[in-house]
Every structure is written in structure tokens, then in C-alpha cells.
């Protein structure tokens, strides 16, 4: 008998989440392969409603009995279940998320790709220490409930990251580029290496950062500085708890009219695309901001029920910035966040700048009072622009501001080319003002 049926002998209802992750990975240290690994991990999480109360338990390698017993114990001390589990779904269109060729990529191939990227960088910058890591695999995910939901899906993943470090006495700096895709053909290794090389070329000289409130060009890898507060603010749970500054403002023009943001779960082969969320709710496209106007918040079952609305299929174990896995209960989190592009390439945006700062990445993302929108970060990778040209990289520089202010009154331009960053955010570059820059 399956676990959901067994659970419903002792509880009113049950939901079982299962994942089987199988894959391989390689990591390079100092330009050569150091470790090749494999994983085959089966994790499960069970939620039950027993005596009207909700209980949760998870396990890897444990027995059905122990998992059920843990969930029942949790329920016996729990609170009334604020929501029912997902029932039989309507007919949904499955989202393509499995590329079977990914599973055929061998360790040799991954090693070869890593070596090739390292060589390309060393050809131009022989003195650099280059590291890389690559992984590929498949996750088989299933959600079944006693209310009749039965979803199963295999999702492939393929990721690559490369970093290069320049180490001189008194001046150490590093650059980083990464990609996470579901389909082998979407891994553009030349683009990834090209991105890294561009940063390295830009950074040959150390220059003074413009200070005060210069125009700041956030490259796609830097835009999460502005977006992270929104990812918290648009969460239905933040809205329910009253910690979101967006609460009660649906329909309001809270952002620049050029800004449109969609949380899209159904982009074919999108890095966080899926046919159903971790509670078995079908995913969809959810406009968050259209032309500056707040359209929707995102909800899992719990937040939806507490705010008397419907789940938007955003019940996720973990956010694009990490965490998650079978161990954690689902919560509202974004699927693929897509910011609509504007016009112009990065090069063109730089060309139009008389003086400014380019931010490719920061240290300390998410530290501080994210809910209020405040950010204050060390510019980990940043460059100064003078008279339309990048003149070099900056050091010991900090940016600060409030993301809600910047995205309302501080956008000068949105670039025309969105790029996938952080495995689940499709972001164009954004040229902003109202960001203060200080330097030592």
C-alpha cells in the first residue's frame, strides 16, 4: 500500500512529496580537476492533517512507518490546518522541463568543458588562477495527495560556473560567471567565458570610483540588488504578515511605468520552470508588475488560505537564491522572475554615460533590512565609466539606497537584452540613479 493511503488510515488527509536526484559533478581547483562526484539521493516529505491539525515530517533513507509516525506526532501538537491539500488537478499542459540528452553527458565531457573554458581564459590571462565547477542530472519529483492530486515529473539540470582570480600583493580580485539550464543546447559556454573575459578586460586598470550619486549601471548579475526586496515584498506571506511595504497596494503605480515583472513557471526549459509546484498546484504565468502597476502577489496554499485567495502555484521548497530541498516545508517563492527588457545593449548603455559606475556583482546580497527595500553592499565586481568608456575596475566601494525608491523614481533606462542569472531570474541591465556611492 502506498504511503498516502496508509496515512489516511490514521489521518484525515495526507500529502507526500518525493524527489529522487541523480547526477554527476566535477570541480576544478587551480585550473585542474580536483574532484568528480555522483549523487543518488531520495528524499521525502509528508504532511498530514490529523484531528484537524497539520503535521510535517521529512526523511532521507528512513522507513514509511517512521515518516508517518513523525508527521502524526507533529500534527498532535500542531495548529489547525489552515488549508486543504491540493485535489485532482484540471487538465494542465505539461511544461517541457526534461532534456533526456542531459543524462547522457558523461564525466569526461564535463571535465572537457571545464578544461576548455579554463584554457580560453588562460590564453588571454595566463597569470590567473581559474576554477570551475559543472554538474548535470535529473530530479524526479512527485506530489500525491489523498484529495486526488497525483503529479510526477522528471526535470533535467545542467550548470556551469567559472571564476578567475588575479592575485598580486596588495591587489586581489576575482570575477565569476555561471549558467544553469535544463536543456543541453541552452548552455552557451562561449557566452559564459565571453562574459568573464569582458570583465577581466574591463578590469585591467584600477581606477577611482565616481562618488556621490552617479548613474549606476546594474548588469544582469547586479540587478538582484534591486530585485531581492521585491521577491520578499511580493510574497503572499509577507503581505499576510504585514511586513511587505506593498501590502494593500494592488493596482497602485508603485514603480516606473517602464518596469514590468512576471513570475513565470511555464517557460519551456526555464531554469525553475515546472508543471506543478511542490504542493501539486499547476504553475502558470503570474504578472507581478505591469507598466509600473502592482498586479499580483504570489501564494502557496497556506498564504493563499490565510489571505482568502487562491494559490498561484508558488508553493516552493527554496527560493532562487538557495535553500530548500525535501527537508523544508513549501513556502511562497518565485519560479522564474522575468523583467521585461527595454532597448539597447550594454555597450550602448555604457557609451551614453558621461560618468558612472557599472555593478556586475556585490558582496553581502540580502544582508540588512531587505523587507524595507534598503540595500548597502560592497561592489564586489564593479567598473568606472568615463566619457562613454569603461576605464577600469573600482575597489573598496559601496553602493547604498532603497530598491523601492530606485525602481520608482530612479530608473534611467532598461537594457534590451535579458540574461538568466542565479538560475531563475531573467534580467536586463538597469541604469539607475538615486544610488549613493562611497569609497575609501
Amino acid at each position: 500500500m502506498n504511503l498516502v493511503d496508509r496515512a489516511t488510515r490514521k489521518a484525515e488527509s495526507a500529502e507526500l512529496y518525493e524527489e529522487l536526484r541523480e547526477g554527476i559533478s566535477v570541480s576544478f581547483n587551480g585550473g585542474e580537476i580536483e574532484t568528480a562526484g555522483s549523487e543518488a539521493v531520495r528524499g521525502r516529505a509528508l504532511r498530514v492533517v490529523s484531528g484537524g491539525k497539520l503535521g510535517f515530517a521529512s526523511t532521507a533513507g528512513g522507513s514509511d512507518e517512521a515518516l508517518l509516525e513523525s508527521a502524526l506526532v507533529a500534527a498532535s501538537h500542531g495548529d489547525p490546518a489552515p488549508f486543504p491539500f491540493t485535489g485532482r488537478n484540471g487538465a494542465t499542459q505539461p511544461v517541457p522541463v526534461l532534456d533526456p540528452t542531459v543524462a547522457q553527458i558523461g564525466v569526461d565531457t564535463l571535465i572537457g568543458w571545464g578544461e576548455e573554458a579554463i584554457q580560453q581564459i588562460r590564453d588571454e590571462f595566463p597569470e590567473l588562477i581559474v576554477n570551475a565547477s559543472l554538474s548535470r542530472g535529473t530530479a524526479a519529483v512527485g506530489v500525491r495527495t489523498s484529495a486526488g492530486a497525483a503529479c510526477e515529473e522528471r526535470r533535467s539540470y545542467l550548470s556551469m560556473s567559472v571564476s578567475a582570480e588575479q592575485i598580486r600583493k596588495g591587489d586581489i580580485w576575482s570575477v565569476y560567471a555561471s549558467a544553469a539550464v535544463r536543456r543541453a543546447e541552452d548552455l552557451d559556454r562561449d557566452h559564459l567565458v565571453g562574459d568573464l573575459l569582458r570583465q577581466l578586460r574591463w578590469g585591467r586598470e584600477i581606477v577611482a570610483a565616481p562618488t556621490g550619486t552617479p548613474p549606476v549601471l546594474f548588469l544582469p548579475t547586479g540587478v538582484p540588488v534591486l530585485l531581492l526586496p521585491l521577491m520578499v515584498g511580493f510574497s503572499g506571506m509577507s503581505v499576510f504578515l504585514g511586513t511587505s511595504p506593498l501590502k494593500g497596494r494592488l493596482g497602485e503605480t508603485a514603480f516606473d511605468p517602464r518596469l514590468s515583472i512576471t513570475d513565470d513557471g511555464v517557460i519551456p526549459y526555464g531554469p525553475r520552470s515546472r508543471s506543478f509546484d511542490d504542493e501539486g498546484v499547476p504553475t502558470d504565468r503570474l504578472p507581478l508588475v505591469t507598466a509600473g502597476v502592482i498586479q499580483n502577489f504570489y501564494y502557496d496554499l497556506r498564504a493563499a488560505s490565510l489571505t482568502k485567495t487562491r494559490s498561484t502555484g508558488n508553493g516552493m521548497k527554496g527560493s532562487p537564491l538557495g535553500g530548500g530541498g525535501f527537508r523544508v516545508p513549501p513556502g511562497p517563492a518565485s519560479r522564474n522572475i522575468v523583467v521585461s527588457p527595454g532597448a539597447g545593449s550594454v555597450d550602448e548603455m555604457v557609451r551614453d554615460l558621461k560618468s558612472g559606475l557599472v555593478v556586475a556583482g556585490v558582496l553581502g546580497l540580502g544582508q540588512g533590512n531587505v523587507q524595507s527595500g534598503a540595500f548597502s553592499n560592497n561592489v564586489g565586481t564593479g567598473f568606472a565609466v568615463k566619457d562613454g568608456k569603461v576605464v577600469g575596475r573600482v575597489k573598496n566601494t559601496m553602493i547604498a539606497g532603497n530598491a523601492y525608491d530606485v525602481l520608482k523614481d530612479g530608473i534611467q533606462a532598461i537594457g534590451g537584452q535579458a540574461e538568466w542569472v542565479f538560475g531563475g531570474l531573467a534580467l536586463p541591465p538597469i541604469l539607475a540613479e538615486k544610488v549613493s556611492v562611497v569609497t575609501q
Binding site: V26, A36, G61, H77, E165, K169, L363, A374, M398
Partner: protein
């Protein structure tokens, strides 16, 4: 499982093989405002095999114990495949063969505390926060405990069984006035029992009051300041800014960085002493035996301002002619051990807080940490709150205090080291190489540093 593990590593054809099987028993209670967001207890188990063949590592992670022999073969095969590409082979420093069993001590064993009592503890703190002031809009209280039982065997004959307790408490308050939202928290963590997180009502009130106070605090003005770090923040500073670059795995295949981190190099003022300690009773970073079976040592990183040691795994110790320090740690059975910190601290000096404030015309008193991050010499960490210092006196509260700098310069810019000391494990943990959250402890006295860059408007 002990026999299976011993047999599997003994039968391996790799140059070196180790296997680790873990069983973790956990519980967790989380409240947000009036909602019980999580209440759970459970157990999980999984294993990892690591093999060295001709200087390359192969690893295999699994959850089905019956797979163990097959996983040894798989890891061997992966290592062999990788070894064909290696020019600078990894080798291991000798380690004493040990046969050991260790269990962390708990006054009140949390495994015997009913889930209901854990719930009531968290709920009581949560209520204190919510009732503190009408300006408190929300709260977050989280209790966790885990008993991590690991058994470890390697092909040299070492066998270690350990039980490591871990208990944490996080109390956060969110205050709201008009559109402004401020948060404050208290965060504790120990390698100890349930008793260590009981009686923390004062912490709950402190968090709530601070969130309310922050509503009327001004954002800090960006610029360069003389900063007095409180012990919490100074501890995070030494972990983030300096500790990470003393983890020898990133020097392993990095010749230029090894030159920068040459032992004997003066790194800071003469009064500066920094230690990473593998065992201090009840502390969260405790690692009696690391995940290579190496017993703990105290790593003296800086003595009298001079770099005297690094943190090592067996591989890095071999490369740098050092002794393994017991710093090879894995966050769970899903990961291989990498070089990590344990209980890392600045030793106390001689100055009183008053002496440290003297002579500061315009400075900052930066307190408690939201977190921090480092990238080689660049580091950043955010204070939970701060105060202006004007003419040697601690003044009004300021918020959004984020400090940044270059670690080499900053260590030289330390002006005074306090005569007090606080070692604290937080409820969070350290992240590195995809392994998070690893229990660590940081500690320090008050520390005064000149010329620190502070972000802000």
C-alpha cells in the same frame, strides 16, 4: 552499519578510501506572527564515499545503505577518470590512526523533550515579542535541534563514531511605523542541550525593543569612520574577513596566494591574537574529530600580529608541510569535507570600553551582525544596529550600518583591543562551496579600527 563501513573501505582498490554514514535526528518549531509555520521532528540518514586515485578525488553520495559497496566502486571509477587529467596530484599528510567514540554532553537532552514543550518554549518567546509594543507588526521565532550521529571509517584503519548535539534559537521582531519597516533579532546556538535555550525572555524583549528603537534611528551617513566593533560584530569580522582566507584549501593549488599567506608575515598590530579552536565545552563550532577522522587541534592563526598558522585538511597539510588541524568538515552526508572554521576568535587585550572611545571625534559604535561575506581581501558585514560616537561618547542610534574594507589594511588599522570577551554561536551558520549552514562560533572583545568604509546615503 559499522561492519559494513569497515568492510567496504578495506575492500576498496583505490589508493585511499573513506566512508561516512550519518543519521540525523532533528526537530524544528517556527512561528511567524500568530502563525505556527513549522512544527516537525524526524530522522534522516545518508552516506558518502570518497576515494583518492592517483591524486584525484572521486565521491559518491547515496541514501540506500545497501548501495555502499557499489558506491565505493563508483567513487573509485570517478576518481580514476579524473586522475587522467591531473598534473598536480593531491596527496594526504599522515594522520594518526584512531579508533574513537565521542558524544557531546547535554544537561537536558533535547531528544527526550516532547515536541509540545519545544513548541511552548518558542510560542512563549513569540508572544513576548508581539506583546512588547503596538509598533511590533510581526515576529519570527525559530527553535531547532539536531543530533548528528556519524560513523566514519577509512582505509588506513581509522574508525570514529560521534554524536554531536546542536540547539539553536532565533528571535526576530519586525516593527512598522507608516511605511517604514525595521527588524531586529537575537540569535543563539550551542553544542548543548535544551536547557541552553530556556530562560531567554530578556533576549525576546531586547529584540522587540531594538526593532522599535530602529524606527526612530537615522540611516547612517556613508563615509570613512573610526569604528568600535562590539564583541559580536568583531567576532563576525574576524571570521569573515580573516578566517576564510586562512582556510588552506583555497591555497592548495594557488601558488601566488600561498606567497601572500606565508607564515611569519606580519598581518596586524602586535596585540592581535587570533585562534580557531576545535573544542570548547558546549560551543557550536565543536569538531572533536573532523570528517577525515582527524582529532581537533587549536590553530593559532595570528600570534602577536604575525601569521603563525592556517587551517588544514590532510590534503592541504601535505601540500604546505603542515600538520592537519582537524578543520576538514562537511555540513552533512550530502557533502565531502572541505576546510572550514570551528570556534574562531580574537583573544582579549587590555583596553576598557571607555579607553577605546577616548579621542574619537566622530565615529561609529557598530553592534551585532546581520551577516557578512568575503571575497579574498574584500570583506563586508552588516551591523544589526549602531550608534554615533561624538567626542568619545556613544550617541544616538543609527541603522543600515554596513562596513567594508580590505582585510590586510583593516588588520593593520586595528588601534585597540578590549579587555572583555564574548564567544557566541548564532542560530545561522557559515556557508562555503554550496555547504550551508555549518555550525560555527565566533568570538572577540571590543575592537577599535580606524579608516573603515561605511556604506550609506
Amino acid at each position: 552499519m559499522e561492519d559494513r563501513l569497515r568492510e567496504a573501505v578495506a575492500r576498496s582498490h583505490a589508493d585511499y578510501t573513506e566512508a561516512r554514514w550519518e543519521q540525523a535526528t532533528r526537530s524544528r518549531v517556527a512561528f511567524q506572527r500568530d502563525q505556527l509555520m513549522a512544527l516537525e521532528s524526524g530522522e534522516e540518514a545518508g552516506g558518502i564515499v570518497r576515494c583518492l586515485v592517483k591524486g584525484a578525488w572521486g565521491i559518491a553520495v547515496f541514501t540506500d545503505p545497501a548501495d555502499l559497496p557499489r558506491k565505493v566502486e563508483e567513487a573509485t571509477h570517478l576518481a580514476r577518470t579524473a586522475s587522467g587529467h591531473v598534473a598536480d596530484p593531491v596527496a594526504l599528510a599522515p594522520a594518526q590512526v584512531v579508533e574513537a567514540r565521542h558524544e557531546g554532553q547535554m544537561k537536558r537532552d533535547f531528544r527526550g523533550v516532547p515536541l509540545d514543550e519545544k513548541r511552548r518554549l518558542a510560542e512563549a518567546y513569540n508572544k513576548l515579542v508581539l506583546a512588547h509594543s503596538p509598533q511590533i507588526a510581526s515576529s519570527s521565532v525559530r527553535y531547532t535541534d539536531s543530533w548528528r550521529r556519524t560513523i566514519y571509517a577509512n582505509s588506513e584503519g581509522t574508525y570514529v563514531e560521534q554524536g554531536i548535539p546542536d540547539v539553536t534559537l532565533m528571535i526576530a521582531a519586525v516593527a512598522r511605523k507608516n511605511g517604514d519597516i525595521q527588524q531586529a533579532f537575537e540569535s543563539l546556538g550551542y553544542a548543548a542541550g535544551f536547557d541552553r535555550v530556556q530562560g531567554k525572555e530578556e533576549e525576546a524583549r531586547k529584540a522587540a525593543q531594538r526593532a522599535v528603537d530602529l524606527l526612530s534611528a537615522k540611516p547612517v551617513q556613508g563615509g570613512t569612520y573610526t569604528v568600535v566593533l562590539d564583541p559580536d560584530l568583531a567576532g563576525v569580522f574576524i571570521h569573515e574577513a580573516f578566517g576564510h582566507i586562512c582556510e588552506a584549501d583555497f591555497l592548495l593549488k594557488n601558488e601566488p596566494m600561498r606567497r601572500v599567506m606565508q607564515l611569519g608575515t606580519p598581518f596586524g598590530v602586535e596585540s592581535l591574537n587570533v585562534v580557531d579552536d576545535g573544542y570548547r565545552a558546549g560551543e557550536r563550532g565543536n569538531t572533536p574529530y573532523d570528517d577525515e577522522g582527524v582529532p581537533w587541534q587549536r590553530a593559532h592563526l595570528i600570534k602577536n600580529g604575525v601569521l603563525t598558522g592556517l587551517m588544514h585538511s590532510r590534503a592541504t597539510a601535505h601540500k604546505m608541510n603542515a600538520v592537519p588541524t582537524g578543520n576538514a568538515r562537511a555540513v552533512s552526508w550530502e557533502h565531502d569535507p572541505i576546510v572550514r572554521m570551528r570556534n574562531t576568535y580574537i583573544e582579549p587585550g587590555t583596553a576598557t570600553l571607555d579607553e577605546m572611545l577616548q579621542g574619537i571625534e566622530r565615529g561609529l559604535y557598530a553592534c551585532a551582525a546581520f551577516g557578512g561575506q568575503t571575497e579574498f581581501e574584500q570583506f563586508t558585514f552588516s551591523a544589526a544596529y549602531g550608534h554615533e560616537i561624538v567626542d568619545g561618547v556613544i550617541g544616538p542610534m543609527v541603522r543600515d550600518v554596513v562596513l567594508t574594507g580590505n582585510v590586510f589594511h583593516t588588520l593593520q588599522n586595528i588601534e585597540r583591543i578590549g579587555n572583555d570577551f564574548k564567544l557566541e554561536g548564532s542560530s545561522g551558520g557559515c556557508g562555503k562551496g554550496g555547504q550551508w549552514p555549518l555550525p560555527t562560533t565566533t568570538g572577540a572583545p571590543h575592537v577599535r579600527v580606524r579608516n573603515v568604509t561605511v556604506g550609506g546615503r
